[in-house]
């Protein structure tokens, strides 16, 4: 079988021209295959025990390149599909620069030929293969050693390596990834000592000298690492010179020329930090020298020590939390490096104090050490499987000389049209024209604080527009700037970095903690958009993807009571959130409230049930404390009735207050302290047979093996007849136009009236635009009113609602009740109308 290896592939890999399958899918030959067993576990590494890996040498016929098979491909070797001489096509791989060497980590491959004679006489390079080397001599020196190796020296090399493994380097060779070996080796002890004190450096050099003479790349690398310690710098030099080009060339990284490169920025930062690190770790336990800078893409949990050079692209706010282990604080920030790698860093507690003030968005830092944890994709939108958790041994050093190679921001713009098909909670970058912006409204968070909120309409060349909701500080600075631009008749270009897609009767996008706005940015996409807008976009029809879909997915929709049963609501995995207009037909008055623990736990009271001690104090089991006075919280059992049927529902504290119009405590006092039964009856009567618009959470729950669909009131408002009428008129209008798809399907026998209930749709983007086309402040006001008006006209259909806690006024992604994420922000529906409220408090697991 004739096979053609991809000529020059390895040279390109070494030069860094190709880094992954995106650049090339080369066909290479396996010239060496070696099993690396994990014999010794390093305690700080959480890898599975005895995870074998295959190391391979790949040839393009001319050169050899070291590589590693992903463990998932081990089977191919074990079954003999890949063997010595196999020709493979790398379909998914990464060329990582691990310290100074490039390594190909092969994730996916195609076997072109099972076995084939070795093609050509390839020589191994893959060592000091960085571009920009200055010393020709050194390269020669290296080439020499390479040649030796390739002509039969290889076995020898491997043999020697195992010798080393048996001895001092036992750990390193057994680590699952080569770079780990390279870097962690020092941790085994010997080298750590040398790094700490210059004195033992000399014997070290000797020992390394021996090692380095073998074509064992890690060795010199390791030495290079050592040189990062300022104290050891002098001893590094002799080493460099004595070892000919071999070790020396390795130290000539493009970013860090020659030895003193390592004593510069990296080091100056490490210097102040190091003493405590030594104290923490104990002398001789580790090599504390700063390692080489590696790309973010090469970070993995198996590496103990690394340094990345990164720009901070966004910084989350400091958040406090409280969980079973007590209170804590957390903040996180996002990083971008010169290779386009992105990763999030999270700090907890004391580490927050250490680094919070140091981190400034836009600055470049060297960050070293920290553990890599799997990214929590729910909260972390960055395209990285890991996130960094810093600890007290981590170091962050600001680079004052800005590195222009690291972009300020990296966008992955998507069309607004694409949002329709994207999952809720995905995080995207958008660029579009702001066609309108609403005034700032305020929303009360569950913890009682207020947060600003405003919405804008963004449209782009996909002919779609979407509502973008701004939260908190975005309303002020960016919001005001956009407002001013809109008021002056300009339709500004806005780039949104990291907006989160939300879903309620359509899709919308809202800001999260790591979001960023770029108003009238100066980059090609913006200019293109501006051109489009001036040419045709201004008058092009634009369909809003916000608030106009219904009947699909899990959304907040108007239902009638019989639909709860008919459509088996609540029986799917997640609860259903529905809005019904109904009358309270009956209320259980005996146990309308319970005695609750008022002890503050974080920013909310504990609210667990407390029991009367009999001595006037109340005891909370959870807090394990007694209090003199307890809270009273509603737990109202009510029967709801509409024109289709009846259902029971439970209303807890906030919803209870909304229904009763007074606090549970006041009502309790009326009945049980003042024994004013007449007044109590009056209050109950005033509430029963009153129409409310309820937002209900419908969920099937199991009580002693019995499945029961439970309805919980998360929000109750007295019916607004005017807006309800508008809603009905709209629904009738749709019905007459035959747009039945927008109406909830009700079984015919349920009621004719139910046809009046549907999800209101609104496509007013264009009209809003038109208003504004007349321009200038006055007209803009009109558009604002237009906005408000339109939202008022469908409060029942278009309620922004939270899937997690059920309260109106935010979506679940930003639900304060599931706010274990540091980034979260609060959301609301239409400005000022839906203020917080919602479910009884939920404990936040989180951190």
């Amino acid at each position: 079988m004739e096979v053609n290896l991809t000529a020059g592939a390895i040279t390109k890999m070494m030069n860094g021209e190709i880094a992954s399958e995106k650049d090339m899918t080369p066909v290479l030959q396996v010239t060496e295959l070696k099993l690396i067993q994990t014999k010794i576990q390093k305690p700080q590494q959480n890898q599975e025990p005895n995870k074998d890996r295959y190391k391979l040498l790949l040839s393009d016929g001319v050169l050899l390149q070291q590589g590693m098979l992903n463990t998932s491909l081990n089977g191919l070797v074990e079954e003999g599909i890949i063997q010595l001489g196999s020709v493979i096509k790398l379909t998914q791989y990464v060329c990582s620069l691990i310290q100074t060497r490039r390594f190909v980590i092969v994730m996916q491959l195609e076997v072109i030929a099972d076995i084939c004679d070795i093609i050509g006489i390839p020589g191994q390079v893959g060592k000091s293969n960085e571009p920009g080397q200055s010393s020709i001599n050194q390269q020669h020196g290296e080439a020499g050693s390479v040649n030796t190796q390739s002509i039969g020296g290889f076995e020898q090399q491997e043999a020697r390596r195992s010798e080393l493994n048996g001895g001092r380097f036992g750990v390193s060779a057994d680590l699952p990834q080569p770079q780990v070996g390279g870097q962690n080796n020092p941790d085994t002890g010997r080298y750590g000592v040398s790094a700490n004190s210059p004195q033992p450096q000399v014997p070290d050099v000797g020992r390394y000298g021996v090692t380095a003479s073998s074509p064992q790349p890690q060795v010199s690398q390791r030495f290079g690492t050592g040189s990062g310690i300022p104290e050891t710098a002098p001893s590094t030099r002799p080493y460099v010179s004595s070892n000919a080009g071999y070790g020396g060339s390795r130290q000539e990284q493009p970013r860090a020329p020659v030895t003193n490169a390592y004593s510069r920025p990296v080091q100056s930062g490490y210097q102040p930090q190091q003493p405590p690190m030594y104290v923490n770790r104990g002398p001789g336990a580790r090599n504390e020298a700063p390692p080489r800078i590696i790309p973010i893409a090469a970070l993995n949990p198996y590496q103990g020590r690394w340094t990345i050079k990164v720009r901070v692209t966004s910084k989350g706010e400091l958040r406090r939390f409280s969980n079973t282990r007590g209170e804590g604080k957390v903040f996180s920030f996002d990083l971008l490096d010169a290779d386009g790698g992105e990763i999030r860093v999270t700090c907890f507690n004391d580490v927050v104090d250490q680094f919070f003030d140091l981190i400034v968005v836009g600055n470049v830092y060297l960050i070293s050490r920290g553990s890599l944890k799997p990214a929590r994709k729910d909260y972390n939108h960055l395209p990285n499987d890991y996130e960094i958790h810093l600890d007290s041994a981590s170091t962050i050093q600001q680079c004052y000389d800005d590195d222009a190679a690291i972009p300020r921001n990296q966008f992955h713009f998507r069309n607004i049209g694409d949002i329709e098909n994207m999952e809720s909670n995905s995080v995207i970058d958008l660029i579009g024209i702001v066609s309108s912006i609403s005034p700032t409204g305020t929303v009360i968070r569950k913890n009682g604080s207020e947060v600003g909120k405003r919405a804008l309409q963004l449209k782009d060349m996909s002919g779609r527009s979407v509502e973008v909701t701004m939260w908190g500080d975005f309303c002020k600075a960016e919001g005001q700037k956009l407002q001013d631009l809109c008021d002056s008749g300009v339709f500004p270009v806005l780039a949104v970095k990291a907006g989160r897609i939300g879903e309620f009767n359509g899709k919308q996008v809202s800001t999260i903690g790591s979001s960023q706005f770029f108003i009238e940015p100066d980059f090609p996409e913006a200019r293109q958009l501006r051109n489009w807008y001036e040419r045709e976009g201004r008058n092009a029809p634009c369909i809003s993807i916000s608030r106009e879909f219904s009947g699909v997915g899990r959304q907040d929709v108007r239902k009638v009571i019989t639909q709860i049963k008919d459509e088996k609501l609540g029986t799917s995995e997640k609860p259903d959130w529905i809005t019904v207009t109904a009358t309270i037909s009956f209320m259980k008055v005996d146990n309308f409230c319970y005695t609750a623990c008022p002890i503050m736990n974080g920013d909310r009271p504990c609210s667990k049930k407390v029991t009367n001690n009999g001595d006037g104090t109340w005891r909370c089991e959870k807090c394990d404390r007694c209090v003199d006075e307890c809270d009273y919280r509603y737990i109202l059992q009510i029967q709801l009735q509409d024109h289709t049927g009846l259902t029971w529902a439970t209303a807890f504290q906030e919803a209870g207050e909304e229904i009763m119009g007074m606090s549970a405590k006041d009502l309790y006092y009326v009945k049980y302290e003042h024994h004013d039964d007449e007044k109590f009856e009056d209050i109950i009567r005033s509430v029963t047979f009153t129409k409310y618009t309820f937002k209900l959470k419908i969920k099937e729950e199991t009580y002693s093996d019995e499945q029961r669909v439970k309805a919980t009131v998360v929000k109750a408002e007295k019916l607004n007849y005017s807006s309800n009428t508008r809603f009905m008129l709209e629904a009738m209008d749709k019905l007459r136009k035959g747009d039945a798809s927008s109406l909830p399907t009700v079984k015919p026998e349920s009621s004719n009236y139910s046809s009046g209930i549907g999800t209101s749709g609104a496509r007013e983007t264009t009209s809003v635009d038109t208003h504004r086309e007349f321009g200038l402040p006055a007209a803009n006001q009109v558009s604002q009113y237009g906005n408000q008006y339109s939202s008022n006209s469908r409060p029942l259909g278009g309620i922004t609602s939270c899937n997690a806690c059920g309260s109106n006024g935010h979506v679940s992604a930003n639900c304060p009740s599931v706010m274990s994420e540091p980034q979260g922000q609060y959301m609301s529906g239409t400005p000022g109308r839906y203020t917080g409220g919602g479910m009884p408090r939920q404990h936040v697991g989180g951190y």
């Binding site: 005017s722 009428t725 508008r726 008129l729 009738m732 007459r736």
Partner: protein, 107 residues
Amino acid sequence: MDTSSPSAFVNGALLRRYIGQKVRTVVQVIGSDNGSVVGKSTDDLQIVVRGSSPPSPLTTYLEVIGIAESENAIRAETLTNFGNTFDPQNYNELCKLANGEFKHLFI
């Protein structure tokens, strides 16, 4: 229910269809003097209401039940204050529906 003397829901434009018959409408009060009220119908036409002494004080919106005298005048039998927050747009839609597609539902 007394159906002997039905009153049709009208706005300003529909008034002419019921001249000589009993109608009911809601107007926004523009002014009043000497037992007559000038109001704006829900479809922004002017209607003069005579005959019955208006309640005092008048609220912004006033319901008028009476006989349509002309296309812009009603001789009122009953005048009722409808408050200040009435939604004229909804009322206007009701009038259109009650005299159009869904006329059969109304007496």
